[in-house]
Amino acid sequence: MSKSKNDVTESETKVRRRMPDVAPLLGFLVLLTIFFTVTSPYFLDVDNFKNIFVALAVTGIVCIPGTMLMIAGHVDLSVGSSAAVSGMILGNVVNSYGISAGLTAVLVYGLAIGIINGFFVTVIGVNSLITTLGTLATLYGVALLIGNGQTLMMKNFEWLGTAQPAGIPLPIIIFFVIAVAGIITLRRTRFGRSLYAIGSNPNAARVVGIRSNRIVFATFVLSGLSSALAGAILCSQLSAGDPNAARGLELEVITAIVLGGASLAGGRGTMWGTIIGLTTIGVLNNGLILLDVPTFWQRVAQGLMLILAVSFDATRERLAAKRR
């Protein structure tokens, strides 16, 4: 009895080639695309795809450092609130001092919030989930305080969110540039490779002489900057700073990253995976709108996707543990 069991495990270890982690997701995305193409005449259309990606660009920008953090075994939940504060700051400063002052303020703000998160996680040593849960709550309060709970109208600064050089919306271009930089950083640089090492085994990373704290700190700063940029784009699109504009952004970001195959335990994940995960969410949201499904269902679908993605990750970890 026990013998036949052993035979099975042995034959399994002979399977050398592993499927890429994102293969099932890619299959799902293709099925989803086919489904919406068949069910909605408006789906397969250049303008519609522009819509999909404009909607994704803001989330996508935040996803790039988010993926790096997840690979290093950390998470930044504060990105949504942080984007909201960024929008409020931008609105205020642009109205009073002009556009360049506004952008400078946003840049400084992004650095500051990244430094704050990074400081608590790497210097004080607080768990990143807790640290950024704290900054999430705090920053949401700050966003409400700045506008006294109101939306703040902003004049004369629509181009960042709506310009279309060569017919391509500017947010998509910005996302594209950041994504390419992210892919190269993660795959080709010492910084990126160190993130994998840190997430895979933080103790071993220390012993091998990787300066883990500096690297994680820097990644939190990137995350802070990206959330500030995302907030600025959102504010420009709406011509207003809205404290509720980016609510739930962190959920979308984490869903995309985990769907894309990054391990919550750290050490594993790719930028391409995240981008495919992100696209899946975008296509799903867009398709549901085209099918006239009430928008509340989008939230339900997204929540379910997150649970599904995490279960998938957990199952894979368990199977991997068994194989050893």
Partner: protein
């Protein structure tokens, strides 16, 4: 045997195709203490883990108190009264002494823990052990030896029929060891069967009724403890071949690489002085807890140095932590490969190159081709068996993983290498390979190697010179051909 408690017959066990137990038999009677001896890697721990249901044997039969089983799980083993006490602590440091003694089995009425009853019972058990620890003390604030006694107390409160003690005395003081032995005598009177794993031959005569010796996964000797001479046991453990272990050709050394004087780190080790020459392999030999691995940790910057001086190539050296040490050309191979050494989900190439990324590209970039080339180069030189440079390291055998981690520092071109238990959990064949590699590399690159080990065979086969340590102090030095197993064991115990 009057009253047989345990009978293991023809136990075989393979890990990923490598057989580590070749049909071992073991019997244990009620009220008997069986000392289980053997070198590191002889299969003692695997065997007792099979008895505890922790590991499933590949084949063989297990009979515990008349219940015959093809395999057994942890729960069944507990049901049958098998308890294990490990060298490492398995307690909850945040809970009290009483809670730890009844860990998971707290006396209760309905859902509520009956605290008074628990405290009373805990006190009774501790009295029986003649231990004076307040039952409401927090376990984490006790000394390691005291915490070990709590584990024994826990086994006593449960209905224990078979007690396995896996090197429990390594962290105990002499008084505590004697106390443990008297408790074992008590238990013997109550009909508990005990398997006692140890490296210390002097303990065998004191505590055991019978001795069984394992070597390379086979049982080679089973005798009454009173008939067992020390020489018999040593030669059974070492085997004929390895008893005459050939010493390696000694290295020509070229000036001091590391000079340590009066080095102290709290009570872990005190006033240690030695020099490692360029191209030399120096072994620090001693039991676990004797301070050998702690010295390597301190030199690399993982443990504070409270007094003393370190000189590297004639210059005083104060480490600012592992990253600083690694930048200074010092390498460190930890004993705990899983926890501190490897990046388990990453490829072998990445694991090997991690310390050399700086060299493998410009402006912060890493040329992955160089990574794979480096792996292929070392895979050939060190005979690393893998499916290629992209294989995940955790799917390699222990010996091959260790070779990758060694190659990590070779590739980085370190000139001082600190090794802690470099062949723990590595099979015999790969072990010889690793010794050969380390010696060759030291000779060719003039690297100074310091090895902390509790394995005397390792010292004989690997080191030019050996310092023997006991309880944090250097107790003797062996050089050249006087480095031999019997002298090492005698000096360390």
């Amino acid at each position: 045997m009057s009253n047989e408690l345990v009978s293991l017959q023809g136990i075989h066990k393979s890990f990923s195709g490598v057989e580590v137990l070749h049909g071992v038999d073991l019997t244990l009677g009620a009220g008997e203490v069986l000392a289980l001896l053997g070198e590191n890697g002889a299969g003692k721990s695997t065997l007792v883990k099979i008895l505890a249901g922790d590991i499933e044997p590949t084949s063989g039969s297990i009979d515990i108190r008349g219940t015959k089983l093809a395999k057994l799980d942890v729960y069944q083993a507990r049901q049958l009264g098998v308890r294990m006490i490990f060298q490492e602590l398995n307690d909850a440091p945040a809970l009290t002494v009483a809670e730890n003694i009844f860990l998971g089995q707290w006396p209760h009425k309905g859902p509520f823990v009956t605290w008074d009853e628990m405290a009373e019972k805990a006190k009774a058990v501790l009295d029986r052990l003649e231990v004076n620890i307040p039952v409401d003390a927090i376990a984490g604030q006790l000394r390691v030896g005291e915490r070990q006694l709590l584990e024994i107390a826990r086994a006593l409160t449960q209905d224990t029929k078979v007690l396995v003690l896996d090197e429990p005395t390594a962290a105990l003081s002499n008084v505590e060891v004697e106390r443990l032995f008297s408790v074992m005598d008590q238990l013997r009177g109550e009909g508990v069967g005990m398997i006692y794993i140890t490296h210390r031959l002097d303990e065998v005569a004191r505590v055991a009724d019978r001795v069984q010796v394992l070597r390379d996964g086979s049982s080679v000797l089973t005798v009454d403890a009173k008939n067992a001479s020390r020489e018999d046991l040593v030669s059974a453990m070492l085997g004929h071949a390895s008893a005459k272990n050939n010493r390696p050709e000694l290295a020509e050394t070229g000036g001091a690489a590391v000079k340590v004087s009066g080095l102290t780190s709290f009570a872990e080790f005190q006033n240690v002085s030695f020099t490692v020459e360029k191209g030399e392999v120096l072994a620090l030999f001693g039991k676990i807890g004797s301070g050998t691995s702690e010295i390597c940790e301190a030199l690399f910057g993982l443990r504070p140095i409270t007094a003393g001086k370190v000189e590297i190539f004639g210059k005083e050296y104060k480490t600012k932590g592992p990253a600083h040490s690694a930048d200074q050309g010092i390498g460190y191979l930890p004993a705990d490969r899983q926890r501190l050494g490897s990046f388990p989900v990453r490829s072998v190439a990445e694991n090997l190159a991690v310390r050399s990324w700086q060299r493998m590209g410009k402006f912060g970039f890493v040329n992955r081709l160089l990574e794979h080339q480096a792996f292929n180069k070392w895979a050939e030189a060190l005979r690393i068996v893998s499916r290629g440079s992209t294989q995940t390291i955790s799917t390699l055998s222990g010996g091959n993983q260790q070779k990758v981690l060694l190659a990590r520092w070779f590739e980085a071109g370190v000139n001082i290498l600190l090794l802690v238990e470099p062949t723990r959990g590595v099979d015999v064949g790969a072990r010889r390979d690793i010794y050969e590699i380390i010696r060759k590399q030291a000779k060719e690159s003039g690297m100074a190697v310091l090895v902390a080990t509790s394995d005397y065979e390792e010292v004989v086969l690997l080191a030019d010179r050996a310092l023997v340590m006991s309880r944090g102090e250097v107790v003797s030095e062996l050089t050249g051909n006087s480095v031999e197993a019997s002298k090492l064991i005698a000096a360390a115990s």
